[in-house]
């Protein structure tokens, strides 16, 4: 399987994230032990496993909020062992992050929450308006742009958080248990939104311990157990068992609709 992203090196141009024998000790406990994998540009990956198995640590290592105790993490060609503190903001501008608890600014409107992400990285005023309008339309909340977060449902708040994560057009979207606080129907809507974002070429990595989501998820699933990568498989969920997705009905150039695995075409 020459084209299997699981067996590629970090120098392959398709690789966007690479973990190399990563060990992480955190507060005197081993959070990750000898974890190695690579993720392709434009891939959609699900991290799963019980709480404390190391899913969040993987995401934090990708944002370089943590650094490996041993081994190396390479993200968009930036190497963890050679990363200067001053460069970290530049890396973060290429990564969107979504949390279980949304983390919106409660005293600001939906619009301002999203615009904030652009403001602090110095996007010109005129572009901010254009970009915020684009992402809020994408998540279906442009008409609620003047609401405050507490005036929205949980699913809507998570969509605002996703819009905020996407407004700087990141290459990677990380979502840490994005459906953890949501009912199953809303959760599926969020997963569906992540698929649509992935269809736009963004690499999406999300973590969940919800078996229902994993069961119906027709993509690459990495299972973590006790800080180790226990399995890393491309699941082929039969069409009839898979939850329907909006993206099933969208045309993707050069591909059959609903093909679960896309070749690395977004180099």
């Amino acid at each position: 399987m020459a084209d299997d992203p699981r067996s590629r090196g970090p120098l392959d141009p398709r690789t966007i994230i690479a973990f190399y024998h990563v060990n992480l000790r955190y507060r005197d406990q081993t959070a990750l032990a000898d974890v190695s994998f690579t993720v392709d540009n434009g891939e959609f990956v699900c991290l799963t496993g019980p709480s404390g198995a190391g899913k969040s640590s993987v995401l934090r290592l990708i944002t370089m909020d943590l650094f490996p105790t041993k081994g190396q993490v390479v993200v968009r060609g930036m190497v963890s062992t050679r990363m200067k503190r001053g460069r970290i903001p530049m890396l973060r501008r290429e990564i969107g992050f979504v949390f279980q608890d949304f983390r919106l600014l409660e005293d600001r409107s939906v619009y301002d929450n999203v615009a904030f992400a652009q403001l602090v990285v110095g996007v010109p005023g005129a572009d901010i308006k254009k970009n915020v309008m684009r992402v809020l339309t994408q998540v279906g909340l442009w008409n609620k742009r003047d609401r405050l977060p507490h005036q929205l449902s949980g699913g809507e708040q998570q969509r605002v958080a996703i819009a905020r994560a996407m407004v700087n057009s990141p290459k990677i979207l990380l979502a840490d248990e994005p459906t953890g606080n949501l009912d199953p129907v809303t959760a599926q809507e969020i997963i569906d939104l992540l698929f649509r974002i992935n269809d736009g070429g963004t690499c999406v990595i999300f973590s969940t311990h919800d078996h229902e989501i994993v069961k119906t998820f027709g993509q690459r699933v990495m299972v973590f157990r006790d800080g180790r990568l226990a399995s890393d498989v491309e699941r082929r969920v039969p069409e009839r068992d898979r939850a329907p997705r909006l993206s099933d009905h969208m045309y993707r150039p050069g591909e059959e609709p609903a093909t679960p695995h896309r070749e690395g075409g977004h180099a």
Binding site: L59, R60, R92, R103, F116, L119, V120, V121, P124
Partner: protein, 294 residues
């Protein structure tokens, strides 16, 4: 480069702490200006003592009283040897009659008491004026003990005992100012860093999101540093204002009480601003170092 939208944001955020926590801000500024006031007071007293000392030194006046029974020629002949002593700039002879006349003038209406005297009891004397480099207590004492060995000299009197006392006071105040400024330094940095820490804690979510979306540390830091600077500016201004008011009240009674020059006032406020900056810098760097995003 910062964009206009960013500058607007930074300006709003810089005063956010003032808006959100008026009481804490007020107390911080009061504590800081009180400590600065104490410091300024010490510096001002040192300054005034120094000036008094300088004035006293200008008037260093050594009186050499001569033994009785010297004839006019011997008396006049003493002037060259006096002037030959290193540091003596001028030697003025005051004869017995002149001394009595001065005494009479000094006594004014009570000069009658002198009428009971059969003869003039006042000795003739020389007033020596010393040049600038020889006015220290040690130098004057050395000259005096040298003169006391002369057979023509009965006694030497000088105002240096005074100068010595003044000088030791000035020394005490100079050192206390230093100690007080160190204490004030610590106290001001401490209260400001605590206040800024409070602002940062209440802006936790905002900081977290800024870090998450890739704002630079410099950008995240700026509003909090500006807050510290504003604290210093206000506290320094308040302390100077109070001190100026106090000086105005006091100088009605005490003549020649000196106040800081405008440059010194500016320097003092700048010192307060630096304290504010250091306090907030301490809070910010500690906070950002410990802060994790995810």
């Amino acid at each position: 480069m910062l964009r206009r939208t960013q500058l607007g944001y930074l300006a709003r955020e810089s005063v956010a702490g003032f808006r959100r926590r008026k009481l804490t801000t007020g107390v911080t500024i009061l504590i800081m200006s009180a400590s600065l006031l104490v410091l300024a007071l010490f510096v001002l007293v040192t300054l005034n003592l120094g000036m008094t000392l300088e004035r006293t030194r200008e008037n260093v006046d050594v009186r050499v009283f001569l033994v009785g029974g010297l004839d006019a020629e011997r008396l006049a002949g003493l002037q060259p040897p006096f002037l030959a002593i290193p540091g003596v700039r001028e030697a003025r002879f005051i004869g017995q009659d002149q001394a009595l006349a001065e005494m009479r003038a000094m006594l004014g209406e009570d000069a009658d008491v002198l009428e009971v005297l059969d003869e003039n009891p006042l000795p003739a004397s020389y007033h020596l004026e010393l040049s600038r480099g020889h006015r220290s207590p040690e130098a004057v004492a050395a000259i005096a003990s040298e003169l006391r060995r002369w057979p023509e000299v009965d006694d030497v009197v000088y105002s240096q005992a005074w100068v010595g006392a003044l000088e030791s006071w000035a020394r005490i105040f100079r050192w206390s100012s230093l100690v007080v400024s160190l204490i004030v330094f610590g106290a001001a940095v401490f209260v400001i860093s605590n206040t800024v820490r409070l602002t940062m804690a209440s802006s936790r979510r905002v900081i977290e999101i800024q870090m998450l979306v890739g704002a630079t540390n410099g950008f995240i830091r700026t509003p909090f540093l500006v807050e510290g600077i504003l604290h210093g500016l206000l506290a320094g201004g308040l302390a100077m204002g109070l001190l100026a008011a106090g000086h105005r009240v006091l100088s009605v009674r005490l003549d020649g009480l000196a106040f800081f020059t405008p440059v010194q006032v500016g320097g003092f406020v700048a010192f307060a601003v630096v304290l504010g900056l250091l306090g907030s810098l301490a809070a910010v760097s500690q906070y950002l170092r410990l802060r994790r995003v995810v």
